[in-house]
């Protein structure tokens, strides 16, 4: 088996007295498309945020691309990573947020070119050209000069995807990227992600409530509850014949809420 691109080993995380991740371990293979599902508060978003270094961990270790994420090797042991190490590690990872988090004072094009120019020393013209290719791919090239406030939610999210891709990360994290969208705008964002999954060999982690999309998109599904993985497997197994009672109960609720799986 290939060396995993993400190795999560015994990770725990608490917010105050609330323990959101409990001794969590799992690996992700390079190029794997992984869907994280489960009830709200089950810890799935926290995992993405930890991988993006937006949250620290309280215990355990994480390796990304063979290197410690939150630690640094020092004289045979591990010490907490400093900002320089985190900066190096973040270059491997991109994230798309539920609320888009575009920069409102910059145009669509500037949103996409800002980070490549600043962090990779890309030339203005090169950055522009690459950005236009990406905007083309997400169907937003025509709006290159618009400000985010002039866009619909679905359009904003497509720009946010292009912005994250501009740094050419090995791993992409999608955190409930359609949850804030009106129902009629969900599909345009999912289409972009489908294309991305087909056309690239990027590793993708997806936290979602869109079960039918998770079914089509993912190579593997992890079902979370209470900060632990309750069940994992190929989407066909998880969605059609879940073994665990909690998985069954969760999916039943989802179906009762009107979603197709």
């Amino acid at each position: 088996m290939l060396q995993p691109i993400i190795e999560i080993d015994g990770v725990s995380k608490s917010f105050g007295a609330l323990e959101v991740l409990k001794d969590l371990s799992f690996n992700v293979a390079p190029g794997e498309k992984l869907a994280l599902i489960g009830p709200s508060g089950s810890g799935k978003t926290t995992i993405l945020r930890i991988l993006m270094t937006l949250e620290t961990i309280n215990g355990g270790t994480i390796k990304v691309d063979g290197e410690q994420l939150w630690h640094r090797e020092h004289e045979g042991g591990l010490i907490p990573a400093d900002e320089r190490h985190l900066h190096k590690m973040r270059a491997k990872i991109g994230m798309v947020f539920q609320l888009f988090n575009l920069f409102p004072h910059k145009t669509v094009l500037e949103n996409v070119t800002l980070a490549p120019i600043l962090t990779k020393g890309a030339g203005r013209e090169d950055a522009k050209r690459s950005a236009m290719t990406l905007l083309e791919m997400v169907g937003m090239a025509e709006k290159a000069d618009a400000k985010p406030a002039q866009l619909s939610g679905g359009q904003k999210q497509r720009v946010a995807i292009a912005r994250a891709l501009a740094l050419q990360p090995k791993i992409m994290l999608f955190d409930e990227v359609t949850s804030a969208l009106d129902p009629e705008l969900v599909e345009e964002v999912l289409n972009v992600m489908r294309r991305l999954a087909e056309e690239t060999d990027m590793t993708m982690l997806l936290v979602t409530h869109e079960m039918s999309f998770a079914h089509d998109f993912a190579d593997r599904v992890l079902f979370f509850d209470g900060g632990r993985i309750v069940e994992e497997g190929p989407p066909d197994d998880i969605f059609t014949q879940p073994k665990e009672e909690r998985t069954q109960a969760f999916l039943k609720k989802i179906i009762a809420a009107g979603q197709r799986i």
């Binding site: 988090n101 800002l114 985010p148």
Partner: protein, 219 residues
């Protein structure tokens, strides 16, 4: 009345000094506001401590006393300042202390999602501040900066106490020489009003220009 035009010229000369004080004082105040405001948010405790000390001290003591210090006391320590320098320094430091709290508040009111997007895009702390946070925070600072600049303009009148011949000082001179009270004071009253209106109009224009397309920071 022919005589009055000569006195008016005197007052207008004072108005120039007032403008000079306002512009230079505002520049010093802006620099101090950003130093103090960013200092309050520093990762290093001793920078936070220095910034807090500056802000509390200059907000907590009288502008008159600060001015007297700059003009009368600093020379005793071998730092002689001209009346204009002393005025600019005292006004700039005083108003800058108020401005620092505005800078801090505006920076802190940029939603945390914007910071997180910067982390996800691997920007350094400085790049984040320079390209993402400050441009958004600056729009929020502007209205209060406008008020502060007007406060500074009105505060310039105190420099007449250290014999700097600003607008208020010249009005006193005219009053002393002519015995006329209402006219010189009415003149400077109107001039102060015209200047402050100019400041608030300029700030409003700048605000409109910068805020274009900036509704909803969560976009």
């Amino acid at each position: 009345m022919a005589q009055w035009s000569g006195y008016l010229e005197l007052i207008l000369q004072g108005a120039l000094v007032t403008l000079q004080l306002t512009v230079l004082g505002t520049v010093v105040a802006l620099i101090m506001a950003f130093l103090g405001g960013l200092g309050r948010l520093s990762r290093h405790w001793w920078i936070r401590w220095l910034a807090t000390g500056y802000i509390e001290f200059f907000r907590g003591t009288s502008i008159f006393v600060q001015l007297f210090w700059a003009y009368f006391v600093l020379p005793l320590f071998g730092i002689p300042l001209s009346p204009l320098q002393a005025g600019v320094l005292a006004l700039g430091l005083n108003v800058g202390a108020y401005g620092a709290e505005v800078v801090r508040g505006a920076i802190q009111s940029v939603p945390k999602e914007q910071y997180e997007a910067c982390t996800a895009l691997n920007l350094t702390g400085w790049q984040r501040m320079r390209h993402v946070i400050l441009p958004q925070a600056f729009v929020l600072m502007l209205p209060t900066f406008g008020n502060n600049a007007i406060e500074l303009l009105k505060g310039t009148a105190v420099v007449s106490l250290i014999s700097l011949s600003d607008m208020t000082f010249q009005a006193q001179v005219v009053r002393a020489q002519t015995g006329e009270t209402a006219l010189p004071f009415l003149t400077i009253l109107l001039l102060y009003f015209v200047f402050s209106t100019a400041i608030s109009t300029a700030i409003r224009g700048l605000e409109r220009h910068l805020a274009r397309g900036l509704d909803g920071t969560r976009s």
